[in-house]
C-alpha cells in the first residue's frame, strides 16, 4: 500500500510540476513552436554538440513543422503515460522509455535554441526513471538515487562557491547584483526590490552576508547524505532557497522543487515493527495487542502508567504479552515529551508501523510529527466518527484540531473501529479510506456452564455499611455517611445471608456520567420495583462525582433485605472491574443513544461511537438491558434486550428472575454468537489495517 501511495504521490507531484513548467513555457512564449528559431547556439554541452553534429537543429530550422510536432509530443506522451497508469494500475515500460528519452531531447533542443538552462531539468529527467519500473524495490532505489542527486545539487553549488573562493570575496554579491540587475538599475528603479538591490550593492558587507547564508543553506544539504532525519527540514530549506532566489536574484527556480518529492517519499528501508500509542482507553487495546504480537516481530506500546496497570484483569501485561515492550508515561508527567519520545523511538529504530489507539489531544503535535516521519505506516482507531470530521473556528484549539484532522484525513489511510456500523459510517464520509472492524478484545469466556460463581469477591465490593478495607484504598466502599455504624458482626451476618440467597447481580458498567447514561431511569425503577428474589446492583464506575453521589443516595434509600447496592468511589481497577463483570447475571446500560461527543459533536451510540459496553460484553456471555434505539450489528445484537419504558424493564427482569432456564438459554445463544470474536477471524482485518492486504498499483 505504501508503495502504491508513494507511486501515486510521485506521479501526481511530478506531472503537476511538469505540466506547470510547460504551461509557463507556453505563457512566456517559450515553446519551440512559439520560438520557431532560426539559429542554434553552442553551450559547450557534449550531448547538445552531438545533436548539432547530427544535424537535428539545422533540419528542424529548415522544417518548422517539427517544432509543433515536438510541442505536441511534449504534452501527449506524458498524458498517455498517466492514462495508461490510471487504467492499468501499472506503468508502461515502452511509454516510460519514450517519455524519458523524449524529455531529454526536448530540453536539450530548448537549450540549443533558446538557452533553457539544463540544471533544474536533470532532476525531472532522473525522476522520470521511476516510471520505467513496476518493481517496488527498483522504484525505491531510483528514488533514493534521485534523493542523493537533489542533495548533491545543493551541496555542489556550495562547493563551487567555496572552491572558487567567491564566498571569501567580500564584494562578490555586490558585484553579482550590479551585473545581474543592470537592466533594472539603469531604468526608473522605483520598485522596493530595485531599491533593495541598490542598497545591497552600496553595502557589500550585507550583500555578502546573504551570499554566505546561501552557501551555508546549500551546504546544509550535506547532512542528507548521512541521515534522513532532516529530510523534511531540507524540503523547507529548498523552498526558502527558491523564494530567496526569486526575491534577491529574480530567478524563478521553483521548477527545481520537484526534486523535493524524492526527499518527501521516504525510500529507506524500515524494520517491521509496530508502535502503538494509547492514552487512557486501555480497555480497547487487548485485541490489537493480541493481533500485533502474532503478526509483528516487534511490538512497542507507549501508554500511560495507569493504562498499563489496568490493561489486564489478571496478571501483568508483560506476562500476557511477553514479547511486547511497554514504555510507560509516569503519572503526572507531561504529554509532549512522551510524544517526542514516541517519535524518537520510531525514528531511531526505523519502525515501519504506528497505530494510534487513541488520539484525543495534541493533534497538531501528532500531525507535525507524522508529517516529518516519512513513509511510516500510520493507522488510527476512531472512537467518534462525527467528531473526526468536525471543523470549528471558535477557538484556537478548535482551529488547530481542524487543521490537524484535515492533514490526518489526507495522510492516514487505515482506520479501525469497534463496531462494523461505525466503519460503514466512516467510509461513507471518507470513501477512499480503508476501514476495519476489530473488537476491543476477543471473547474469552467459556460456555455458560463454566460461568464463575456470581459471588462477589470480598475485596471487590462491600455491602453498605461496611468500612473500606485499607488494603484496597482505591476501591472505596460506600462510606457510612451520617448513619450510625452498625455492628460489624451483624453486617457480616447480613452479607452472608444475602449471598447465601444467590442474589441476581445486575452490573451497570461505565462512568456515572449524565451525558452518556440516564441514571434517572435506574433510580426511579428501583424505587418502585419489587424483585422476586434478592438482587445486587453494582454501579461499576467512579461514584465520586456530585451527580454519582445523588444517584447513589437515591439507590441507598431503597436498599432492603432483597436489594443491595454496590458502588465504587474512585477509579475501578481493571482486575476488580473484570471480576464484577464475570460475576454478573445481567448488564444494564442506560445509554443516552444520542449524545454529545468529546468535541460537542452529536454522536449516536452504536452507529458513530461505541460505548464501553461493546468491550464489556466480550468479558461474559450475559445479556444487556439497553434502551430502544440502541442498535448493534450482529453478533453483538444477540446480547441486547431492548426496553422502551420502566415497565419493559420490569417485565424483562421479572421473567429472568423467575425463569433461570431462560437466562441459561440466552447465555448459551450469546456464547455461541460471541465465539465469532476470536483472533483468527480478525487477522484479515488487521492485515488490512496494517496495509499488507490491500492491492497495489503495481502488478
Amino acid at each position: 500500500m505504501q508503495y502504491s501511495r508513494d507511486k501515486n504521490l510521485l506521479l501526481t507531484v511530478y506531472f503537476l510540476f511538469y505540466f506547470f513548467v510547460f504551461f509557463f513555457f507556453a505563457l512566456d512564449h517559450r515553446l519551440l513552436s512559439q520560438v520557431r528559431p532560426v539559429l542554434f547556439w553552442y553551450n559547450r554541452d557534449l550531448a547538445e554538440l552531438t545533436l548539432i553534429g547530427l544535424g537535428l537543429p539545422r533540419w528542424m530550422i529548415a522544417h518548422p513543422a517539427a517544432f509543433a510536432a515536438m510541442d505536441g509530443l511534449v504534452f501527449t506522451i506524458p498524458a498517455s503515460l498517466i492514462v495508461f497508469a490510471a487504467r492499468k494500475k501499472r506503468f508502461s515500460r515502452p511509454l516510460g522509455w519514450f517519455f524519458t528519452l523524449f524529455f531529454a531531447l526536448y530540453i536539450l533542443l530548448a537549450d540549443i535554441f533558446w538557452q533553457v538552462h539544463l540544471e533544474p531539468f536533470v532532476v525531472y529527467w532522473l525522476l522520470s526513471f521511476c516510471f520505467l519500473t513496476n518493481d517496488e524495490r527498483t522504484f525505491y532505489r531510483i528514488l533514493r538515487l534521485c534523493r542523493y542527486y537533489f542533495l548533491y545539487l545543493f551541496v555542489s553549488a556550495a562547493v563551487w562557491k567555496i572552491a572558487r573562493g567567491a564566498v571569501f570575496h567580500g564584494q562578490e554579491m555586490s558585484h553579482i547584483l550590479l551585473v545581474h540587475h543592470g537592466y533594472l538599475l539603469s531604468g526608473d528603479c522605483d520598485t522596493w526590490t530595485c531599491g533593495m538591490y541598490r542598497w545591497l550593492i552600496a553595502h557589500p558587507a550585507y550583500a555578502q552576508s546573504l551570499y554566505i547564508a546561501s552557501v551555508v543553506l546549500e551546504a546544509s544539504f550535506l547532512a542528507g547524505f548521512f541521515t534522513r532525519r532532516f529530510d523534511r527540514l531540507l524540503i523547507l530549506l529548498s523552498i526558502v532557497f527558491v523564494v530567496a532566489d526569486l526575491v534577491v536574484m529574480r530567478i524563478p527556480y521553483w521548477t527545481l522543487l520537484v526534486g523535493a518529492a524524492a526527499l518527501w517519499v521516504d525510500s529507506g528501508s524500515r524494520e517491521r515493527a509496530i508502535v502503538v500509542y494509547e492514552t487512557t482507553h486501555h480497555e480497547n487495546l487487548p485485541a490489537l495487542l493480541d493481533l500485533a504480537a502474532s503478526r509483528f516481530p516487534r511490538v512497542v506500546v507507549f501508554l500511560q502508567e495507569l493504562s498499563w496497570q489496568n490493561l489486564c484483569g489478571e496478571g501483568s501485561p508483560s506476562d500476557r504479552w511477553p514479547g511486547t515492550e511497554f514504555v510507560r508515561q509516569a503519572p503526572g508527567s507531561p504529554n509532549r515529551p512522551f510524544i517526542h519520545r514516541l517519535f524518537a523511538h520510531i525514528r531511531r529504530h526505523r519502525c515501519s508501523h504506528l497505530h494510534l489507539s487513541t488520539l484525543d489531544n495534541n493533534l497538531l503535535v501528532f500531525a507535525w510529527r507524522i508529517a516529518m516521519a516519512g513513509n511510516l505506516h500510520v493507522s488510527l482507531t476512531i472512537h467518534e466518527v462525527n467528531a473526526w470530521f468536525a471543523h470549528t473556528d471558535r477557538s484556537i484549539r478548535g482551529i488547530s484540531e481542524s487543521l490537524a484532522r484535515l492533514f490526518f484525513q489526507w495522510r492516514i489511510g487505515h482506520y479501525t473501529f469497534f463496531l462494523p456500523s461505525m466503519a460503514a459510517r466512516f467510509q461513507q464520509r471518507l470513501p477512499g479510506a480503508s476501514t476495519s472492524f476489530i473488537p476491543s478484545r476477543f471473547y474469552t469466556r467459556g460456555p455458560s456452564g463454566e460461568a464463575a460463581s456470581p459471588d462477589i469477591p470480598q475485596v471487590a465490593a462491600r455491602p453498605s455499611g461496611e468500612a473500606a478495607s485499607p488494603d484496597i484504598p482505591q476501591v472505596a466502599a460506600r462510606p457510612s455517611g451520617e448513619a450510625a455504624l452498625p455492628d460489624i458482626a451483624q453486617a457480616a451476618l447480613r452479607t452472608q445471608q444475602f449471598d447465601a440467597a444467590s442474589p441476581f447481580t445486575i452490573v451497570i458498567p461505565g462512568s456515572i456520567d449524565p451525558n452518556r447514561r440516564d441514571y434517572e431511569i435506574i433510580a426511579a425503577f428501583f424505587e418502585s420495583w419489587q424483585p422476586a428474589r434478592p438482587v445486587r446492583l453494582v454501579l461499576l464506575g467512579d461514584g465520586n462525582s456530585g451527580y454519582a453521589k445523588t444517584v447513589i443516595s437515591r439507590l441507598q434509600n431503597v436498599e432492603s433485605t432483597i436489594f443491595r447496592l454496590v458502588y465504587y468511589a474512585g477509579y475501578v481497577p481493571e482486575a476488580i472491574y473484570e471480576r464484577e463483570i464475570r460475576a454478573a447475571h445481567l448488564f444494564w446500560s442506560p445509554l443516552r443513544v444520542e449524545k454529545k461527543g468529546s468535541r460537542d459533536e452529536p454522536e449516536v451510540y452504536g452507529q458513530t461511537t461505541a460505548s464501553g459496553l461493546t468491550a464489556d460484553l466480550l468479558l461474559n456471555d450475559i445479556p444487556a438491558l439497553v434502551p430502544a434505539g440502541f442498535v448493534l450489528s450482529p453478533p453483538f445484537d444477540k446480547a441486547l434486550l431492548s426496553y422502551s419504558s420502566p415497565a419493559d424493564v420490569a417485565s424483562i427482569l421479572d421473567r429472568l428472575l423467575a425463569d433461570g432456564q431462560k437466562l441459561s438459554r440466552l447465555r448459551q445463544e450469546i456464547d455461541s454468537a460471541f465465539s465469532f470474536f476470536v483472533k483468527e477471524n480478525f487477522t484479515g482485518a488487521f492485515e488490512e489495517l496494517m496495509g499488507s492486504a490491500s492491492r497495489s498499483i503495481a502488478s
Partner: protein, 161 residues
Amino acid sequence: MIRLLFTAFIVLQIGIDLAHSVTFFPFVHYGMFSRIEPRPDTVRLYEVTVDGMRLQPAGMAVYRWDMVQTPLEAFDRQTATNDFAFDKQQLRWGLQRAGAGKVYSLLKTNLDNTGDFPSWYKTYLSGLLHRPVRQLTVGKAWYRSADGRLVLLKKEPWINL
C-alpha cells in the same frame, strides 16, 4: 549494481566538474555565481526599442524579459565568435584526436548557422508582446556604477529594422 551506478555517476560528475567549461547532459555544473566577480568598470546592456518604446524589465514577467535578452546575448556571442568558430575548432580537434577526423568532414555542414537573426527577432518579439512590431531598434549601452546607480557612458546602435 546500484552502488556501481552511483559510484560511476560520482566519478563522471567529478570529471565533468573538473572539466569546468564543458558539460555532458545529465552531468551538468551547479556552479552558477561561483566565479569571483571583479568589480565591473562598465556594465553593457542591450536596449530594445519597439515602435519608439523602450522595453523595460519592470513591466515584464521574469521569464518574458529573459526571452527578450537571452537571444540577443546569444546572437552577440555568435557574431563575436564568428559563429562559434572556437567550438567547432575544438570539435574538429577532438574528433581528429579520436581518429574520427573524417566524421568532422561529414558533419561540418550541420554545424553552421545560416539564419537571419534580426528578422527572426522582430517576428519573435511580435509574438512575445502580442502585438505587431513595425519598427525595432536594438542598441548596446555601457554604464558605470555609482552608489548602486548606473550612469550611462555611451550607446551604440546594433540592430535597426
